[in-house]
Amino acid sequence: MAGYTPTTPADRDRMLETIGVDSIDELFAQIPEEVRFDRELDLEDGLSEPEVHERLAAMAAANRSTEQAPSFLGAGMYDHYVPAIVDAITQRSEFLTPYTPYQPEVSQGGLQVMFEFQTAMSELTGLPVSNAGLYEGPSAAASAAYLAMAATGRTGLVASRGVHPHSRETLATHAGGFGAGLTEVGLVDGLTDPGELEAAIDEQTAVVFLQNPNFLGSVEDIAALGELASARGALLAVAVDPMTLGVLKPPGECGADIAFGEGQPLGNRLDFGGPSFGFFCAREENIRRMPGRIAGETTDLDGRRGFVLTLQTREQHIRREKATSNICTAQALNALAALVHLSWLGREGFVEMGALLARRTAFARERLSSIEGLEPLHEAPVVREFAMRSAGTPVASLLACPSGTGPSLPVYPLGRDYPEFADSFLVAITEQRSRDDIEWLAAMLEGASA
């Protein structure tokens, strides 16, 4: 019997009898004749479990995963090692299969996870208020814009071109609905141009978006740039790569009003782009304008400590058209994965991870720069990713495999997102990219640019 349904013909007949009808068709009689579907769906009939597994495994095998060959692809999602305990915990039925915790008395596990996650993200970003997660990074930028517009009563959005191109595109898509305008600010030597930024901010600017490290991998001086925003009464929203916050100054100490970003590097597998989660932190004064779920501590009838979804009057199911966001189902399980990973890394391991990335990245940048025909796109400091420029060989031929039929070289070409950097590509480093892997990449590039 297909469909995981336990209902036998005998069950069905007894149910029909209780209902007082002769057939299931009678229940569907309320659907008017003219819209009833009078054939079977044009799909295969159901397959057995081994057949489905075989089919999906064949599709998986037609992909070149980071398990098969070292990958230096990044651009916001990184091939970090996901510890075994993350899978063990997130696959537990009790975390995997409940709904959003609408009945807190039987959802204390999930609610406490949210509370702990909020604490962890607040610690990482240096901002006091965190929600329990959003969909992913770029749409969190749109949430930041919506908050800033409500907080300032202004409609201008300013974003550095160092902000992830997907975030800027997502902002532009949403700006149409929000009634906002988006102005972009260019880069100089791999960093946001302070002069152009200052000129772009005016009395209508609700929020200034920066990213650290920026899309080209550069570590920005957020505090200095941020002063330009606050001087004009605009909020400062900073996208951060959470895995660099062990070593980089947290946005909360750089004047950021909002810190947000893509959470995937924390405990979430690549999954060809999702599901992962977005995080969103802010200052106290915007707590009632936050998007998404927030767990809060309280007590029960007998005085026991407990957790509930709180400040729900911000949310769509209560506030409807006046809600601070339309978000409902979000990414609770992905946020749990991040929390377990962060607990596993711990206070010291998290710093060690950041330092490891910074040192290997510096090594890799230097090593690739020693290749004839390649040079760093910029000289700004980097921490886990960097951009290389190919003066002679076009990037497309550099990345195509030598024989023309094998896999592409796994680095990120910049041309689609930055026509001005069509001669450049990004190289990302994780703890899984060893010195040997870096040498392998160097050898491939040497071969290709020769």
């Binding site: 659907i31 039987v106 690549l270 026991r304 978000i327």
Partner: protein, 514 residues
């Protein structure tokens, strides 16, 4: 009686603590002990230069983030113990209306975890991601067939993002024809995400009333449809669980005025293979893969909210789009198409929640055409059966169904007579159900039904669970006739008892204090 339910527990109405209640909540941060750790990272393999030589020191962090210091066994124990403080679908009946809490096959978890899927970088060159792109393409095709609309974008992250996408599509579609209507019509029974999405898309919400049959009030609709209407958002069957018989007329009214029809697919589980939103006249549909297509809910996500659209809307769908062409030796080749000049653009990063796509595609393959149709038919059978069971006895007396007709996959009861005659509210009944080992239905929604209880029993529950649930309701009502105080202070057996939500909002404590 369901042997999984602790029958002793339901007799507990006194103040004695259960062992789980005596085990007070302690966070992972409070378990931190300086010097403990879990991870061992690989050595860098390169020179250990001081960080300040690499990055200017004023850009570096001074104090480590206050993450916990705990060992790996403690992490496992902490989260396993926490997990036991959750109620979950794998353990018990979860008839939460509008949420479609159907069984989540473990096969889907297994195939999603295959390294070829799970460790595939989203920026992998399309030539090296043919399996993933093929899967996405085939899922697009399957959803297109199920929805009766020719084009599908998988990009939206969940239903609410699908709604926003749909409204931005409507805006783009109208703008391309030189129109700029400002209103979106929404029935008063709609999900809260609908009006929230309308506001985010910059439209004005106009509510349409519900008639005595639970459908759209046609007179009110006629009065409100005009050329300033960009779109009508509808769930059909709606949140009352009834199918709107006037759908064809509704569609032509809106279309004639130049508006589009948006279908909230939250209730698609009622109609798979029975009727299709496209055939009803809808232009844009979102599908909650975490409802009808069995992605586990994860305690509040992840999900995915693909949209299916008509030819009229197709030029504007989000980019990139997965496309198929003929490759070498006549084999199909799949690619990502970014060159879509009329597209509304991106709603998020990369290609969408691919891991969710894998699970839902595996689910569609497992059920197939026959199984999907059977799933919907069984879901409707189960809902009507449970509704009939609850029309008997005390439930029939105190909890009448809101609209007296056959329902689709869910139905709504009103607790108003219960409140009036027994002095217990819907909330009290819900809390008492927890002591009986059931997750309660959705409560206080839809808003137009007083003391509403919205019940969705789904197709994967066995008849005996539906019977047990009906009997539990009967027992609680009988108990309340004797002593309404029992339900008013319920639950008694859960890890914590009723929580002070008002206090939590007044003085928000939303992180572990330093």
């Amino acid at each position: 009686m369901n042997p999984e339910v602790d029958t002793a527990a339901r007799d507990r109405t006194g103040p004695d603590e259960t062992p789980q209640q005596a085990d007070r909540a302690v966070t992972i941060f409070e378990k931190s002990v300086p010097g403990r750790r879990a991870c061992q990272l690989p050595g860098s393999g390169v020179e250990e230069v001081p960080l300040a030589d690499l990055i200017p020191s004023h850009l570096l962090r001074e104090e480590p983030a206050g993450l916990p210091e705990v060992s790996e066994p403690e992490i496992i124990r902490h989260y396993n113990r926490l997990s036991r403080r959750n109620f979950d679908l794998d353990t018990g009946f979860y008839p939460l209306g509008s949420c479609t809490m159907k069984y989540n096959p473990r096969l889907n978890e297994r195939v999603a975890a295959l390294p070829g899927h799970a460790r595939l970088h989203p920026a992998t060159a399309p030539g090296d991601a043919q399996g993933a792109l093929e899967l996405m393409y085939l899922l697009q095709e399957a959803l297109s067939e199920i929805c009766g609309l020719p084009h599908v974008s998988l990009q939206p992250s969940a239903g609410s993002q699908g709604e926003l996408a749909g409204l931005l599509l409507a805006r783009a579609c109208h703008a391309d024809q030189g129109r700029n209507p400002g209103k979106v019509l929404i029935p008063d029974t709609s999900h809260g995400t609908n009006p929230a999405s309308v506001s985010m898309a910059g439209y004005e919400v106009v509510k349409v009333a519900t008639d005595g049959q639970g459908g759209v009030d046609m007179e009110d609709l006629r009065a409100k449809v005009d050329e300033d209407v960009a779109c009508l958002m509808l769930t059909n069957p709606n949140t009352l669980g009834v199918f709107d018989r006037n759908i064809t007329e509704i569609a032509s009214l809106v279309h004639e005025a130049g508006g589009l029809l948006y279908y909230d697919g939250a209730n698609l589980n009622a109609i798979m293979g029975q009727c299709r939103p496209g055939d009803m006249g809808f232009d844009i549909v979102h599908v909650n893969l975490h409802k009808s297509f069995s992605q586990p809910h994860g305690g509040g996500g992840p999900g995915a909210g693909p949209i299916a659209v008509s030819d009229r809307v197709e030029p504007y769908i989000p980019r990139p789009q997965v496309v198929k062409s003929e490759g070498e030796a006549g084999r199909p080749a799949y690619d990502l198409d970014f060159d879509r000049p009329k597209s509304i653009g991106r709603l998020r990063g990369f290609q969408g929640n691919f891991g969710v796509f894998v699970r839902s595609y595996a689910y569609i393959l497992s059920l197939g055409a026959d199984g999907l149709a059977e799933a919907s038919r069984t879901a409707v059978l189960h809902a009507n059966y449970l509704k009939s069971r609850l029309a008997q006895g005390r439930a029939g007396q105190y909890l009448p169904v809101a609209f007296e007709r056959h329902c689709m996959h869910e139905f709504v009861l009103s607790g108003a007579p219960m409140k009036r005659e027994l002095g217990i509210r819907t909330l009290d009944l819900a809390k008492r159900l927890l002591d009986f080992g059931f997750h309660p239905p959705t409560v206080y929604f839809p808003l137009l039904v007083d003391e509403a209880l919205m019940v969705e029993p789904v197709e994967t529950e066995a008849k005996e669970h539906l019977d047990d649930f009906a009997e539990a309701i009967e027992s609680i009502l009988e108990e309340a006739e004797q002593d309404p105080g029992i339900a008013s202070e319920a639950p008694y057996t859960t890890p914590v008892r009723r929580l002070d939500e008002v206090g939590a909002t007044r003085r928000p404590v939303i992180r572990q204090p330093d």
